[in-house]
């Protein structure tokens, strides 16, 4: 609760700081606010507070809050020189991101369907605007509109699902719903099943899982890169946390019912995400599709529900978040210099910018899941989880997809190291360097010694 209040107040303070033309103070205020929020995360660890039956700050919620806040913090650091050329309303963008973060924290800690909805909407509405902050840019406009229409559409599904479940159980409370499932296992209302499927569809839309992913690449590509990095890392993580909280805990008794459709979603997501990513010539678009495929891996943990599912998602999400932040950070720098986000603009990057090339390499290796990076641990845990139920075919399928993944992640490495290009020297602002290096350290550290994060939840 402190966390939410802190972030919300920070958002307002930033908004007003912007109003009174205190541009220099924006970032420091934001950072202080986020660090305070992180402090609260640490302080409330293991306390498992429930707030009015609406939110539960258990370790699950706190861990995901921590990662999303940290991710946001990094993304804020990447704002250096980013917005200035786009608009005067920097404070508003900051505020919107912070508001989205408030929604995210609510999303990961809800204990009542209404909070899920509210959190989701706070987040989504902020993002609709953020996607379109380049007002005169056509792609940005389009991204914003598409995201908005799709978001609102999926919210409709989600709400109808919630309503049906409410009709069946008479409550929005997760515990009550769970009790209903356990208590009436043999006579569950058909409304509940349809509600569950509708919720699954709605949430799949939100996290961009196939076949409800079609908006993802367009929206991601159209949005400003920084916003895209926020959407595809922090927001996605939150979406999964929300998904997980609902399905892994509350709906767990019905696992046999919802697992098959989920499996279809997972397979489709993996296949479509990977195969389409393979054919992209544009780094940003490739990242968009790869983010779809990562949604597939993340959903893996729900196919085989074990005590570790939640933690596995956490590890994977952490790995994915930090690696992606690196990728986006580098993309922003490169695009600022070359004006293009094609793979070609990375050609020969390694010669003049060994540090950038190195961090991006680590990020790509992590996304591809090479050992000694966090991404490997994430994938390993997912495989392990599914192997426990001996879904060998599924694992084989995932492995094939992982192979495809290597192929396109290495494209950029190939471009950087092995291809000749204009020898460009990138300016890496200090804050970028901090973020990139920190993220690499986190990625490698989690890859080499993941024990710190393995038993968090």
């Amino acid at each position: 609760m402190n966390i939410i209040i802190t972030i919300a107040v920070t958002a307002l303070v930033v908004l007003y700081a912007g109003l009174f033309k205190a541009k220099k103070a924006l970032l420091p205020i934001t950072l202080i606010g986020l660090l305070t929020a992180l402090g609260f995360v640490a302080v409330s660890w293991n306390t498992d507070q429930v707030y009015y039956g609406m939110m539960q700050m258990d370790n699950f919620a706190l861990a995901f809050s921590g990662i999303t806040i940290l991710g946001t913090l990094f993304i804020f650091l990447l704002t250096q020189n980013y917005f200035a050329k786009d608009s005067e309303n920097i404070a508003e963008y900051f505020t919107l991101i912070l508001f989205a973060l408030v929604g995210i924290v609510i999303m990961v800690s809800y204990k009542n369907m209404s909070m899920l909805f509210i959190g989701l909407e706070i987040m989504s509405v902020s993002l609709y605007i953020l996607a379109g902050i380049r007002k005169s840019n056509f792609a940005s406009n389009e991204a914003s509109l598409k995201y908005f229409l799709m978001g609102a559409f999926s919210t409709g599904f989600l709400l109808f699902g919630i309503t049906l479940i409410y009709g069946a159980t008479g409550s929005f409370d997760l515990d009550a719903i769970n009790n209903y499932l356990v208590g009436n296992y043999t006579s569950i209302s058909p409304m509940f099943y349809s509600g569950l499927i509708l919720m699954m569809i709605g949430l799949s839309f939100k996290i961009g899982a196939a076949p409800f992913h079609f908006w993802v690449p367009d929206v991601y590509e159209g949005s400003p890169t920084l916003i895209m990095s926020f959407m595809s890392t922090v927001v996605k993580t939150a979406g999964f946390a929300a998904f997980l909280r609902l399905f892994a805990d509350t709906f767990a008794p019905l696992h046999d019912f919802w697992m098959p459709p989920l499996m279809v979603i997972v397979c489709l997501t993996l296949l479509i995400g990977n195969v389409t990513a393979l054919f992209q010539k544009n780094f940003k678009r490739m990242l968009a599709y790869s983010s779809v495929s990562h949604a597939g891996y993340l959903l893996f943990s729900l196919i085989a529900l074990t005590a570790n599912s939640a933690n596995n998602v956490l590890v994977y999400a952490a790995a994915y978040t930090f690696a992606s932040i690196i990728a986006f950070g580098v993309l922003i720098i490169v695009k600022q210099k070359t004006g293009s986000d094609h793979f070609d603009s990375f050609n020969g990057l390694a010669k003049r910018n060994p540090l950038i090339a190195f961090v991006l390499t680590v990020a790509m290796l992590s996304l591809a899941g090479i050992p000694l990076t966090a991404g490997f641990i994430g994938k390993y845990l997912m495989f392990l989880n599914v192997m426990q139920e001996y879904q060998i075919l599924l694992v084989a399928f995932a492995i094939l997809n992982a192979l495809v993944g290597f192929y396109y992640y290495f494209k950029v490495i190939v471009a950087m190291y092995f291809k000749e290009g204009k020898e460009i020297e990138l300016e890496t602002p200090a804050q970028y360097r901090v973020v990139l290096v920190l993220s690499v350290i986190i990625t490698l550290f989690l890859g080499i010694y993941p024990a710190v994060i393995l038993n968090l939840i």
Binding site: I370, L372, Y380, F383, L384, I392, L403, V414, F418
Partner: protein
Amino acid sequence: MEQLLLLLIFLPLVGALVTTFSGTAAKHVALFSSIVSLALTIAVVCNFTPDASTQFVVNYPWIQDLGISFHAGIDGISIITVILTNVLIPLIILTGYKHEYKNGNALFALILFMQSGLLIVFTALDAFLFYIGWEAALIPIYFICAVWGGKDRIKVNMKFFVYTIAGSLFMLVGIIYLYLQNPAHNFDIQAFYNLNLDGAQQGWVFWAFFIAFAIKMPVFPFHTWQPSTYTEAPAVGTMLLSGIMLKMGIYGVIRWLLPIAPAGLQQWGYIVIILSVIGIIYASLIAFTQKDAKRLVAYSSIAHVGLISAGIFALNTQGMQGAMIQMLSHGINVVGLFFVLDIISSRLKTNRISELGGIAKQAPILAITALIIVLGTVALPGTNGFIGEFLLLMGVYQYNIWIAAFAGLTIIFGAVYMLRMYQNVMLGKTNDLTIGFADIAGTEKVVLYTICALIIALGVYPKPILQLSEASVQHLIEQVTQKLTSVN
């Protein structure tokens, strides 16, 4: 004593780090580091008791929640590969001395990094650690080949990489499967050995592991990545690949596949042997037709490895011992061969056999050393190749006489195409291209002399090496037979 192993593994890493930031002195730093490693290896060998036990064991908990520990040690089998690695790395670094590499310090750092990965592979007693090392060794070689390679390097390397990683992912599945079967929920090798898997399970595990190893070795028909990769890779890369990396596959079979899934081996081993023999013949035939010396050596390597794998899968002491010794010899010989070719190509910019000739007149020392290496490769008695191939053939013979007969062809084939190549390249008329060929000097001499010395020494007096591994091999065979009887 444990510290010795840790030092062995992590020294190259430190070396790599220092090398990266040491500017123009990079190659010296790298060489120094590798020589220290070699010295440590000698220390290890001196302290090694030649029995079946695993020595220098280190066992630290690493990721306890997942049952992963940093568990490594050296026994008679791994010591051979450790020696191989640490002997070859300084030589390979030395071969790189003459070249003017762009970003040379990165190259040498990567070599050292790879050394570390290889040593982890060869000493790991924890399946997860083994896997980590397996992949850790792959990344540097990928970069080495792709950055400093020939003009087709990108495509070729991607193929190589995807092949290898595909294999290793299957292996990962196998490892996870074993982990789940293991009631103790850890990756300990001994626990894996003790698992009671039925025949079918062992069959699955066998294939999961075998594909990874087969791609690495490479066994026919998983070899398609190899010749082009060898050709496109820079000389150091080729040497690393053929000299050491290849042995990862062989070592993996001996260390992991055999003891864990002997029943699977029994079920499917004949297929592997047949594949190996097909590979031997196929590679030899192709080698005949090669116009490029580097490709020829690459194919010869496939043929040799085919024999090694046949020997291993024959599942007897001779075959296994032969494999051990041949791993070492093949590593040395093939590095030598590639270095000779590298010397030629760095001077003449070509490796096409038809364009060369008469080098011997211009560069007698090179010709002599090359001859020794070629003879070693064709397994002339008195050279290191002879012992290994002889033992391997013995092993295969015990398994099946016809297969042995076919496998024996390799020796003849090998002799024919290798010597023909030697003849065409070194002897004959000196042409316009080769007329100004300068003889070897400096570091080239150091490397080639060392290699020749090793070839002859091992050929004449292989006993110490055989002794080192004998007990462990014996133990391994016993273990496997015991397990086989218990399953059946």
